[in-house]
């Protein structure tokens, strides 16, 4: 699904990602963990070019998306992204949040988009919020809407950057629940999270990042019960 070759990202003089090579196969659910500032977000944001790599190559569905003349807008339609701070469009109603992109990009008619939005709102358990505005929703509700908004595009892959970190504890569960459902339907997912329970349950693979490198990776079992690297052990002893 997505292949990363020798990805490096430098902010000013600060090397944030150091020669990362990685492959995510269709259907995989990859959970990325690691200490703050290790480059998890930057790595995820490079995958859909919200951050432009300093060097290296990213292939999505076999297409080099870092090549000069790729239509990045077209590529991004197939990669949903869910943000830590939801980033719902403040000036639009919930239904408009969902329908804006598919209608503007002519993927659906207004009627089709309306029906799909209603279906997805039901699915995330918020069918009565179609006409509400983001500011009227709780954090958990906002994040469920954000997931529905990404699903509207029928993406091949979804990126989650700490989707529950900004939530009150009692709302974390409802968001994870929906992410699990999306995972169960076969979605390819890359998830940065501190929710180790979710990682154990859903991940097909766990990547541990530190200082801009993927230090260690394996199945949840391998990483959580049998970490090999000292830094991984150190990190896990702090978060588990």
């Amino acid at each position: 699904m997505i292949t990363v070759n020798h990805l490096t990202k430098v902010f000013e003089k600060h090397v944030v990602l150091k020669d990362i090579s990685e492959h995510i196969a269709p259907g995989e659910k990859v959970v990325i963990i690691g200490p703050s500032g290790s480059g998890k977000s930057t790595f995820l944001r490079c995958l859909n070019l919200l951050e432009y790599p300093t060097s290296g190559q990213i292939l999505f569905d076999g297409k080099d998306i870092t090549a000069p003349h790729t239509d990045i807008n077209e590529i991004r339609q197939h990669m949903g992204m869910v943000f830590q701070h939801f980033n719902l469009f403040q000036n639009l109603s919930i239904e408009e949040n969902l329908t804006l992109a598919p209608v503007r990009l002519k993927l659906m008619t207004k009627q089709e988009a309306h029906e799909e939005a209603m279906r997805l709102l039901k699915r995330v358990g918020l069918p009565d919020k179609a006409n509400a505005y983001p500011i009227q929703l709780s954090g958990g509700q906002k994040q469920r809407i954000a997931i529905a908004r990404a699903l509207m595009m029928k993406p091949k892959m979804m990126l989650f950057d700490e989707p529950t970190s900004a939530l009150d504890p009692e709302m974390v569960g409802e968001v994870l629940e929906i992410m699990k459902e999306v995972a169960d339907e076969g979605m390819t997912m890359a998830v940065v999270t501190h929710e180790m329970g979710f990682a154990r349950e859903v991940a097909t693979r766990v990547l541990f990042m530190d200082e801009g490198r993927i230090i260690e990776q394996g199945t949840p079992d391998e990483i959580f019960t049998n970490p090999k690297e000292e830094r991984t052990k150190n990190f896990l002893s702090k978060v588990l």
Partner: protein, 243 residues
Amino acid sequence: MEKWFESLKLGFYQTFILDNNYQYFVKGIGVTLTVTIFALILGVALGVVLAIIRSAHDQQAGKHKNPVLGILNTLAKIYLTVIRGTPMMVQLLIMWFVVWASARSTDSNLIKCAILTFGLNSAAYVAEIIRSGIMSIDAGQMEAGRSLGLSYYATMKCIIIPQAFKNVLPALGNEMIALIKETSIVTVIGLKDLTKGAMIIQGKTFQAFVPFIAIAAIYLFMVMMLTWMMGKLERRMRASDHR
């Protein structure tokens, strides 16, 4: 006291009634409002374009700078510097006596020239207001739009600009008020606006007190109406803020 009252009465008579002089005020208000409104429309339209060029340039990701955008941004910056660095009256004199030197002094030409000059001037100020509004919007809004596959300009148009506009509405209101008052300098090119109307009456009747106090009151009234309307609009917008 009685004498003063008598002369005031004469002032009123000569200013408004004699020779249908009130027509100067009526037509003057029309000219002042026409120039203000059309200049504002032009100013906002061009100002938004300038603001988008400036923000698009500043928000470009590190290495991949678009050269066309770079040139447009430089031009925009020069434009803003020149317009904001020279007096409005000088711009008006240059526009009419230099750029439009061959145009005949008809009312319609004068009005067009005034609208164009004030519009171009206002655009520079509106651009900076809108740009500050754009910068006040959380970067996550743009990222969310882009992550769905929307282009930079589609996201600007549907998401960023509407929110930016709402945030800078009070500043735009102030710009409009400044504009309505500043239009009084169109007298220097001979356009018969409200101020010129009072000056003409003064020339005909040698009355100064009544005509000038009258136009001061009229300007004040227009500004107060505008302030009231802006307040209403802001309250409407805040009500639809859905908080």
